[in-house]
Amino acid sequence: MNNRNDHKANLLLVDDEDGFRTTIAKRLGKRGFVPMQAVSGESCLDVMARNPVDVVVLDVKMPGMSGMDTLKAIKQSYQKVQVILLTGNVAVSDGIQGIKFGAFDYLTKPVEIDHLVNKINQAFEMTRLEEEKQKELVYRARLEKKMVDTERLVSLGTLSTGIAHEINNPLAIINESAGFMQQVINSPEMSGFAQKEALLMGIGKIEKSVKRARRITHQLLGHVKKQDTQFSEVHLAALLSETLGLLKKELEDKQITIDWKIDKAKNKLWSDPYQIRQVLMNLLNNAVHAVKKNGAITLTTCETDDAVTLEIKDNGIGIAKENLGRIFDPFFTTKTFDEGTGLGLFVVHKILSGLNGQIKVESTLGEGSAFMIKLPKNGR
């Protein structure tokens, strides 16, 4: 094992006997370790509070705060720190007790320096492994969350389209019934009926509500995966122009600047133009809604051998941090019901999953949002 190791790991040596401690420190120094030193349990904790420490070599028998109490205190506040105990040779039970309390190992005095160095190296190795394990855990948790998120959205999608479909039929009945009542009330023989206006108002509200519900069900169903998705060559720039054309009125009303940073000849891919148009429509629509008068929307693409990434960036209101995790959820919206159904981004997410694409978002409240969509060039 390489003793003159270059790891910057931090070692702390705790012993109340100055002579012993300095000797050990010097010897360790020769082997590449430069330990911090502490003369008591209290000062050990004090050093640890102010310095990063990975491994503590701790004498058990000390006046004041005992080694065992110090160990407990360390393990309580610094779970990741490894502690090597130094015990008197008649007190092996102390060492075993210490391991029970979470010590890495124990050595009996007098200490063989090579033996100690060996143990210290093992303890460092242990902290490194623990750290890796921790990282791995965090990574796994993140990955799992992402998978759960995706699965959740997919099953929500299936469920919601099913419900939307079933709701359309009763909606149609309500609609026709209300419409018929309206016709009857408006007929000449009802002209003398005193409550006519009140009835018509009630029917008007039914019809308005049916329209509102219909907007939701139709939007939910609008992206149902077509049985035969037609793949063809898609010119991203052309699709963008086309979609912006549909938003012409809104763009002009708000006098929005479109900043093209796209090579119009490039960015061709093999995919479903109808679904991509739907994605662009929803994202651009959101951007238009987000900006104030004279706002700007920047369109940037980046092309690699197998994928095209498009960024749609606005300098609008941005998304609050606490909402970022929910924007792809169905029915999540910060708009009123006549401004948005809360399905736009949900649909975008669903379409992109179906096309083997990805979506990412960056946003700062008050500064704007950027949505990045990545699509494979060959559809897979």
Binding site: T161, N169, L171, N175, E176, Q183, V210, L221, V224
Partner: protein
């Protein structure tokens, strides 16, 4: 104002409440309405009654809308069919139009939209019948000229 000539409409949907209210509404509008609750029933009605336009639900148990459409177009090619879909996928509707349906509507449909499509479908049928009649006349004239 022109006097409205009623269109002879057949509504086909397994949702009985929908058929009932929709037909009341169309009747109030001045159309002559027949109803059926399945594809088979629809074909029976067509056999006995002259119909201009069929408004046909795509999703029905048993013989579905598309099958019914095929049968209608096979037996009564000039009867116009408007498809009704509660389903989001417009693909089936498009497939239906390739099979000869005049147009489609998404449930719940806007009545104004229904009126316009119904009127246009009826017009197309009338025009088609007129062309057939003229062609028959020409045929008759040519035949008599041959003699």
């Amino acid at each position: 104002m022109m006097i409205k000539i009623p269109a002879k409409v057949l509504i086909v949907d397994d949702e009985k409440d929908f058929v009932e209210m929709f037909s009341l509404r169309l009747e109030k509008q001045g159309e002559k309405v027949s109803t059926a609750h399945s594809g088979r029933e629809a074909l029976e009605v067509l056999e006995h009654e002259p119909i201009d336009v069929v408004i046909l639900d795509i999703r029905m148990p048993g013989m579905d809308g598309i099958d019914t459409l095929r049968q209608i177009k096979k037996r009564y090619p000039i009867v116009e069919v408007i498809l009704l879909t509660g389903h989001g996928s417009t693909e089936t509707a498009v497939e239906g139009m390739k099979l000869g349906a005049f147009d489609y509507l998404m449930k719940p449909a806007d009545f104004e939209e229904i009126k316009i499509k119904l009127e246009n479908a009826r017009k197309r049928k009338d025009e088609q019948e007129e062309r057939i009649r003229q062609a028959e006349v020409r045929l008759l004239i040519r035949r008599s000229g041959d003699i």
